[in-house]
């Protein structure tokens, strides 16, 4: 039991989350008309929110399609920079703060 709780408290949940979200972004297909949307707002019937299209814009940017990426959402490069900086920070934390004592 103690082993399990120790493993859970040391599990890098946030790092796994960011990695999985980047993978999901890279694997999705932005050309579908009716794309599968996890967004609870769009499932409630709202047509627009400030983040609409960010995922698809990031996918297009990864494939080098700068123009349509900018048209979908101009902040896709910022999202890449911020998320990769955060992942780098989390990996650094794994090596320092979580192994103390």
């Amino acid at each position: 039991m103690k082993e399990i709780s120790k493993w859970i408290s040391h599990f890098p949940l946030e790092l796994v989350f960011w990695t999985a979200s980047i993978l999901a972004i890279l694997l999705l297909d932005p050309t579908h008309d009716q794309h599968l949307s996890l967004c609870p707002l769009s499932q409630l019937g709202f047509d627009w929110c400030p983040g609409c299209g960010l995922g698809r814009a990031m996918n297009l940017l990864a494939h080098g399609d700068f123009e349509s990426s900018w048209a979908l959402h101009p902040l896709a490069p910022l999202a890449y920079v911020v998320i990769s900086a955060r992942m780098w920070q989390l990996i650094k934390n794994l090596k320092t703060t979580h192994n103390y004592g």
């Binding site: 408290s9 949940l13 979200s21 998320i83």
Partner: protein
């Protein structure tokens, strides 16, 4: 060797162990000075939890701003907390977010006290540095 519970009784869990490790080489005076400054600067994990919960009412990402991660804060606000998924993950993860920030602040505090009062607070001789 100063006892962390005497100076900072509100700490718990991993943070308690880490700060005890930092306090290993301090005497009582150094420890109480460190505790005063550190208490004023650390963020309570409950405040992080409450700010994260505000994400469900349209104000997502406030906790990321408070923790100094401005880029992620902007990303959370613009996407309503990554379509609520980011908010839910941080809801599970709020303790490690606060822990990470507080460890950073503790090291900054020690460095600052070393600069202002040289030789008064010694950094741990055998410890990892951040």
């Amino acid at each position: 060797m100063a006892n962390v519970l005497r100076h900072l009784p509100e700490l718990e869990g991993m943070e308690l162990g880490y700060i005890q490790g930092l306090m290993k080489n301090m005497d009582e005076d150094q420890a109480s000075l460190f505790a005063q400054v550190y208490r004023a600067r650390r963020k309570d994990s409950q405040m992080i939890l409450i700010l994260t919960l505000l994400g469900f009412f349209g104000f997502a990402g406030l906790h990321r701003f408070i923790l100094g991660q401005v880029g992620l804060g902007i990303l959370y606000i613009l996407t309503l907390g990554l379509c609520f998924i980011g908010t839910i993950v941080d809801l599970v993860n709020y303790k490690s977010l606060a822990y990470e920030y507080n460890i950073k602040v503790a090291h900054e505090t020690i460095n600052m006290l070393n600069m202002t009062y040289p030789g008064e607070v010694n950094p741990p001789s055998t410890g990892t540095t951040v």
